[in-house]
């Protein structure tokens, strides 16, 4: 037996000195065997602990290996995101309804009952919005203080603020989806009300020419983050044949990917919102046209991309 033991030790020493991706699995199995042997023979706890440390380290390297991210995010944007949105269309549609129905209702309500805006927003906020989109303003869509600090500050503000709302909308899903429902409906109500009110008081042209360009990525981003939250909430309410915890963890994987898409769209919207949307010199028809064009592109993107040969 000492011969075999020495051979084993020699093999082990060899494995320790040069571990490559080829010999790691077999070295790992040998190590696991050593632990089992040490446990079975009741060797000292110090030895078992030391071996376990090594098993843990190897386990993390073997099973925790992450693929290269470089190519994957392009694949995700090129086809993965629309595919995911179609696969989760139940949640995307639910989120879209929860967002757009209050939005449209408020938009109409503001035309019929002009004072209805004060049900939702404080008079100060309304005045501020009215000033931001007044026809005689120089820079559109910016409060006085923000306008003074320049385009880049607006860009950062939009990124920080709008992406944060996406994240919160996603996180709210853990409260059985209620948080996401709240954010979707609340944002729908506010946006609809502001749009309706500004149209009603005669700032229609300035307002719509400002929001047209970035409305598509921004609103779709909001809907996707809501859908991510709803997916989490649904996994809690109706986990199906899985234990709730397992259902939750599984739902989280796709929900986080939806959130990536939402954050990316919102991020893009911030650029349009700070660079393109405030330009006043362009004709109204052009800005509205571009806005409609962007909506069209996104509809095509979500309906058609990621189909065909590459769809796996």
């Amino acid at each position: 037996m000492p011969g075999a033991r020495q051979k084993q030790l020699a093999a082990k020493r060899e494995a320790v000195t040069e571990i490559t991706s080829e010999n790691l699995p077999s070295a790992f199995r040998r190590l696991c065997h050593d632990v089992s042997l040490a446990r079975d023979r009741n060797y000292s706890s110090v030895l078992i602990d030391a071996l376990q440390q090594r098993v843990l380290a190897a386990h993390q390297r073997v099973y925790g290996a992450r693929g290269d991210l470089r190519g994957r995010w392009l694949n995700f944007l090129g086809g993965g995101l629309p595919r995911l949105a179609r696969a989760e269309r139940r949640f995307v549609l639910a989120a879209a309804l929860l967002f757009f129905i209050p939005l449209l209702l408020c938009l109409m309500l503001a035309q019929i009952v002009p004072d209805s805006v004060y049900y939702i927003l404080s008079p100060e906020t309304v005045t501020q919005y009215e000033r931001m989109y007044a026809p005689e303003t120089k820079r559109l869509g910016a409060s006085d203080a923000a306008a003074a600090s320049g385009q880049l500050a607006m860009l950062m503000f939009y990124i920080a603020n709008n992406v944060r709302i996406d994240f919160q909308c996603f996180a709210g899903g853990i409260l059985f989806g209620l948080g996401s429902v709240f954010f979707l409906v609340y944002n729908g109500l506010t946006i609809g009300m502001v749009a309706g009110h500004l149209t009603e008081v005669g700032h229609a042209q300035t307002f719509w020419s400002f929001v047209a360009g970035h409305s598509a990525p921004e609103l779709i981003g909001a809907v996707l983050s809501g859908a991510a939250g709803l997916k989490i909430g649904y996994a809690l309410i109706a986990p199906g044949r899985l234990p709730r915890r397992e259902a939750l963890t599984q739902a989280a994987r796709d929900a986080v990917r939806l959130l990536y898409g939402a954050a990316f769209l919102t991020f893009c919207a911030a650029f349009v919102e700070s660079l393109w949307s405030p330009i006043r010199s362009l004709p109204f028809a052009l800005k509205i046209g571009v806005g409609i064009g962007v909506w069209g592109i996104f509809l095509v993107y979500f309906c058609c991309f990621g189909r065909g040969r590459h769809a796996a």
Binding site: S44, M156, R164, F167, G179, L259
Partner: protein, 248 residues
């Protein structure tokens, strides 16, 4: 081994066992609320420092500074923990200083999705005031998971100390075990031996008398000494003492 595998008995300690595909059991030591709160506080201080340092510089350079100030705030609030946990071996600076690390349920390192899920959920864990939901959830499950950990399937565990257990006194008398002990029993004995100097003599004796087959019929002080001597044997204290004496 078989007894350990077939035991769904709830354990009293905070060790969580993970079975690897190789059939090998790993032990992860779960971190409790207090040490995690400490890590959070350290992180909070770090963030405050970065924010303060950033604001000192950025407010001097006008509107451009204002722009990056907003971005800095956003990054510190949401991205800071994610980046550190994924790129710095599962620990933010606060966790690292507290000896903690975040891993997935199966003991493997975090990926981006898991880290995003657990850190963005802080927004809900923080509700309705100062991590109330998080603390409540941690109390409701056996693995000290807050909502973010439940969603992402992650655990906060101790980065295991590599140092061998230390004995603080110089008692090195050994006694041979009268019969074979299982690994768990050996561990209990070693734990007792390591902690015994910290107990009062009476308490140590009282505890020692509970280890009945080993200490049956012995008065408290003798029972304590016997267990300590057996523990010395398991730790190899006698051999160690002999070697150091020989060396000198």
């Amino acid at each position: 081994m078989s007894s350990a595998n077939a035991a769904p008995v709830p354990r009293l300690d905070t060790v969580r066992r993970v079975l690897t595909p190789e059939g090998c059991e790993l032990e992860l030591r779960l971190a409790g609320g207090i040490v995690r709160a400490r890590a959070w506080c350290i992180d909070f201080l770090f963030r405050l420092l970065i924010f303060w340092g950033g604001s000192l510089v950025l407010t001097r350079i006008g509107s451009l500074g204002m722009a990056f100030f907003l971005l800095l705030y956003f990054l510190l609030e949401w991205i800071y923990p994610v980046v550190f946990e994924v790129l710095w071996q599962g620990a933010t600076p606060g966790k690292r200083l507290s000896g903690l690390v975040v891993v997935r349920d199966d003991g493997t390192p975090l990926d981006w999705s898991a880290s995003v899920a657990r850190n963005f959920l802080r927004f809900v864990d923080f509700l309705p005031f100062f991590y109330a939901f998080g603390v409540l959830t941690m109390g409701l499950n056996r693995e000290n998971k807050r909502l973010g950990d439940l969603l992402a399937g992650t655990l906060v565990v101790y980065r295991q100390p590599v140092a061998a257990p230390r004995v603080t006194d110089d008692d090195a008398t050994e006694e041979i075990l009268p019969f074979a002990l299982s690994e768990t029993e050996q561990r209990a004995l070693i734990e007792y031996r390591l902690r015994a100097p910290g107990f009062s003599y009476a308490r140590a004796g009282e505890l020692a008398q509970l280890a009945t087959p080993l200490t049956a019929g012995l008065p408290p002080d003798d029972a304590r000494d016997r267990l300590v001597h057996l523990g010395n044997r398991l730790l190899g204290r006698g051999a160690l003492a002999a070697r150091t004496e020989g060396g000198e």
